[in-house]
Symmetry: C2
């Protein structure tokens, strides 16, 4: 399997082989693992290595002084936990593992070298940062304007699109290795209300979610329910070329967005 960071940074445009090599090397050094509730870093931490998720799910979260807390983002393989953190004095939020997680740590000097001497990488890192910001804005508008029903639909759409872009979906299904409690923290709902909302989505036949597997029978319908417009993810039309070859079973990602021409086949969480 391709290096998740390279795959991610190449989502928009291919990198020179030389740059790929450099990235490969940069992420080969310090590999670390974390268990489900472990923190990768905490609010107040001073700048250290730049951390890249290689496998597993990670959450960006923040706690208020009185104990309330919220998940601010889900980080998937290829995502950076703290890009360019060294230009700030300290972390203003925390990052925690949701599942078993593998990360690569890139030392500060090495990362600076990437930024200064590899313009294509630097550009790709900027793009990555801008897309993260766009996602954060979309969460803001979700919390501000969308109802619980729309909000949950929207989150599931987003995750499905992002997972598909990194080749982590199987047909209309994907892993969703988080509890309802975490989804509640991310959507700003209480656990109880999230559960009820999820059941509404099930009743409307928009999602199937069981034993950590999410299936979306009709993506277009879910997108409509969520008022989901994938533009903000800036996936580009060349999304995910690297493993296209190994995925001939699947329809081209771009086409599958629009049509549910496979709707006649039953939900098959196990295909591929």
């Amino acid at each position: 399997m391709a290096n998740p960071l390279i795959r991610k940074l190449e989502q928009f445009s291919q990198l020179p082989v030389e740059d790929q090599r450099v990235l490969e090397q940069a992420t080969a050094g310090h590999i670390r693992r974390f268990g489900p509730r472990e923190d990768l870093m905490s609010e107040g931490d001073e700048p250290g290595e730049v951390t890249v998720v290689l496998s597993g799910w990670v959450s960006r979260y923040k706690q208020l002084e009185d104990g309330r807390s919220a998940i601010l983002a889900f980080l998937l393989p290829g995502d950076l936990c703290n890009p360019n953190i060294s230009v700030l004095r300290e972390m203003d939020h925390s990052v925690g593992a949701l599942t078993l997680v593998t990360v690569a740590e890139i030392s500060q000097p090495l990362f600076e070298d990437l930024m200064l001497n590899h313009p294509r990488i630097s550009q790709a890192l900027w793009r990555e940062a801008l897309v993260s910001a766009a996602i954060q804005r979309e969460w803001t508008i979700s919390l501000s304007q969308r109802t619980a029903y729309e909000r949950l639909s929207h989150l599931l759409c987003e995750l499905f699109f992002r997972l598909r872009a990194i080749g982590a979906t199987r047909g209309r299904s994907c892993d969703l290795p988080v509890t309802q409690a975490k989804l509640a923290e991310a959507t700003g709902l209480t656990l109880v209300h999230l559960n009820r909302t999820l059941q509404e989505l099930r009743a409307a036949n928009l999602v199937l979610l069981k034993s950590r597997i999410l299936t979306i029978p009709n993506l277009e319908a879910l997108m409509t329910a969520a008022l989901f417009n994938p533009n903000y993810l800036h996936l580009g039309c060349a999304a995910n070329p690297p493993d296209r070859t190994a995925a001939q079973l699947r329809a081209p990602d771009d086409l599958r967005v629009a049509g549910d021409y496979r709707a006649s086949s039953p939900p098959d969480p196990t295909d591929l």
Copy 2:
């Protein structure tokens, strides 16, 4: 008055004179003005110049297909509307003037030159982007966890801190040239409820807001009410050195954060 962009980028660390000169030049070229409800750019626009706010207030906002819309950020003098937009294919949100606004437009090639050949500027732009992202995260947590009362308090705290960092406060007062409707859009409340919440804040003597002038009699009290922790703004201890000399009337900014030793003097929106 110093160039707002330079002042902004120097918030954390001074720039070499050479870099200052380059920035001065970059922002001297295309100056444009916009009236209150005009859009500086719209969702779907293709990458163009990078726009820097020189004076006035600007909002980042986004609309859903059915008409609902939300303000995602307030942009103040020195802020960039679309940093590095060229690495994306199109704008995923809109930017509109809230007041009379002056901006400088930096052409794409020029901006790329800044990024590639002026590492200190590039670094400062990264910092600016990371702080913007941090602000967006804080809005997310506000919408997700804070009550209307806390949320409005928090927004006012943030704006006051940011305005003070660019030398746009007068004692305990600052301009707040936006309608309650805009504050409602930014906090995710209805206009009616925002109005009531504002009156609660007035009743608690935490804010005075009249004819577009905001006065915060006791900043610490407001911060407590908002659960406001300014860390996420990454202002640094050297915040705002440029115009310190011209502002001897005012107490040093850093000190004024903590104490309200001037509490005995009446609110004076007109001092300085």
